[in-house]
Symmetry: C2
Subunit: 400 residues, 2 copies
């Protein structure tokens, strides 16, 4: 890469506002100074620590049996009033409300047995140091679990008991996303360590692995992360090596993002403390996808803080961009009644209600009854996205 003084100057000009944003985010995303008291801290933990906690739980149970005590497991309540999320430190805590699962009570014996069985499966995974999917855990004892919902619930219970998020249990969900750009990291695979360099992965990039607990040594000179809805836009950015001109990491969930992709993205954000920009279609589904990255698709849950990016910025394609960037009327698509209904539902979302500028954009979309895909920018030239639209957006700080 030959970088002349002119291109450096141009780059600095484009990135000035991004750098300012990054500075302000670093201040906000500061590490926890004070910790809440009398709560259970939920964390990502390394295998030996989780392993130790599993043994503790089993020993507690055994000692109750030996002492002729009522054998039971204490499972923290996972209902929303017992989950405390501290947005400043981006940490999650569980209150001290517990549910007691006795093996001797008719009411809870089955639940207690399922929880203990899952605890033992987790122990097996940690001993072998391998990962499994939720589905595989279910298949491990179909006779007992009967329904996958039972083993899924028990997995959440065991995670809460141990004060860890699900990935630390070595139970993962397959991922379909990809990443490319200024990023290097290590992944431990069995006895080997692979050094993965996302600047040298052609136009495909790295297929994101959900085994994020194997990742270490994250290294990057990127100045921001760009999350793109669609693989077609990802391909355009990859082919034009956008990340080289504007040091960045580009992530796509290839449509609606899965848990694995979101967890990987969150890991990058935590480690690198970079601003995250969303590039999505200008339609209700595109906005919905951005919200999944921002706050998740369901209400606040136990895993939320390991997955969400509440300070993600809506870069584009925003409804107001269509006129602003002179996107021809011919490539705008009329919204269907279903689209309009979805748009209205978005206005009821907490995340949108709290952000007047988001609300205004969606109102504009609904007023115009027009939507547009990222690819519609190709009407102004195949490289308009990478050479004009994105640089201009970044330079003018045109995100909300």
């Amino acid at each position: 890469m030959s970088t002349t003084a002119t291109t450096v100057k141009k780059r600095d000009k484009v990135l000035a506002k991004v750098r300012k944003l990054r500075g302000s985010l670093t201040k906000i995303r500061k590490p926890a100074k004070t910790r809440l008291e009398n709560v259970i801290e939920v964390n990502s933990l390394p295998v030996p620590e989780v392993h130790k906690r599993v043994h503790q739980k089993i020993e507690e149970l055994l000692s109750r049996i030996i002492n002729y005590d009522d054998p039971y497991l204490l499972v923290p309540d996972r209902s929303s009033d017992n989950v405390i999320y501290d947005s400043v430190t981006d940490m999650v805590y569980l209150g001290k409300k517990f549910r007691k699962r006795s093996f001797l009570s008719i009411k809870s014996a089955r639940e207690a047995t399922i929880t203990a069985r899952v605890l033992s499966i987790i122990h097996e995974l940690l001993e072998a140091d391998i990962h499994a999917t939720k589905r595989e855990v279910f298949y491990n004892d179909v006779v007992l679990f009967k329904d996958q919902r039972e083993s899924d619930e028990a997995l959440e219970d065991v995670a809460a008991m141990l004060g860890v998020e699900r990935n630390s249990l070595h139970v993962v969900a397959a991922a379909k996303g990809a990443v490319i750009g200024r990023l290097r990291f290590r992944e431990q695979v069995g006895s080997e360590t692979h050094l993965i360099d996302c600047t040298r992965l052609g136009t495909g990039g790295w297929a994101i692995s959900p085994l994020v607990d194997r990742i270490s040594g994250i290294d990057s000179d990127a100045e921001f992360i760009l999350v793109v809805e669609k693989d077609a836009a990802f391909l355009r950015l990859a082919e034009d090596r956008f990340y080289e001109r504007y040091p960045s990491i580009i992530v796509t969930g290839k449509g609606q993002p899965d848990i694995g992709t979101r967890m990987f993205l969150k890991l990058l954000v935590r480690e690198l403390k970079l601003p995250v920009f969303a590039l999505v279609d200008s339609d209700p589904f595109g906005v919905h996808i951005m919200l999944v990255y921002a706050v998740g698709s369901k209400r606040m849950s136990y895993e939320t803080p390991f997955l969400t990016i509440p300070d993600i910025k809506w870069l584009g394609v925003r409804p107001s961009d269509l006129d602003k960037y002179g996107i021809p009327k011919t490539v705008r698509i009329p919204m269907t009644p279903k689209d309009i209904e979805r748009g209205k539902q978005l206005l009821a979302e907490e995340f949108i209600k709290k952000r007047p500028r988001y609300k205004k954009e969606i109102e504009l979309m609904l007023k115009r009854k027009e939507k547009a895909e990222i690819q519609a920018l190709a009407s102004k030239g195949f490289r308009y996205l990478t050479q004009k639209y994105l640089p201009e957006k970044l330079e003018t700080g045109d995100w909300i």
Copy 2:
């Protein structure tokens, strides 16, 4: 990787039948000795050659105009009776039937204009040496095309006119598949060449890029290719580094495979001449996915030979495996009426009808009314798939 004499001996024993299959396939998949006469050969061609052919077509048209001739384009007929596929040489040809598109005839003027416009867009892509998706081509001139079907059809016409497949036009479809294992290759990205080593990509692997025309220097010491339906099975194979013990390349389309993934797989098969084994769910959808890899999802089309693997082998999970490998009744799922209907439809497929052993498997599935996922093998241990099931299948030559 420490490879003792014992493990080499074990590996040789497991792979003996795979090697025999590979030898027999190499004989079948021999290069074309004689070429058909009086036909247009359809090929993957490098940019300069495609570029030259575009110029030829434009010059032909211009000389017709200059000579006061009727200006027209000759477009080869793409209907099935004009497409000749030679399964021995795995080549496709177009017969010499043409349709004349005159710019002066009211009937064909619009079609001729669209074809010429697409020809000029292709020229633009080749000049800039960039790729675009079909959707982006459509957005390039929405006013003229009106509907994406029009530009899609014109793309096929231009490909046929130039005697190339669509990828050579630099029009691609985004891919969602991944690859891992004993494979190295180069991808040209702008002025850079990236060397991609799929043995060192953690558990995620390389996110397959549809820009297969950029790929060169494919190098592998694999003995077979394993195509897996689901990313969960891919993850198990990746985490256990299956490809290291049994030299192989592992590809997944993450469900129903897209064109990009199939094209990449076909490229590997052509270059490496390796046997391809399918690992899919034991249900009608799994079999359907295998058929997409084998022969495509629609009837024989212009692009088929660049996408299909007619000699793919059905390794598992086959309906007969359920009893043979003692898969517990509890993890088998009853087929729904919809499943049964789909199973019956499979029996009507040409590909199945020609293969009595495939037919027998599907009939067994329909008789038992049972289906099972690949993950059901986890009921016999998380690593049963990689340590027992697959090695035994390969060793006993248990594929059809």
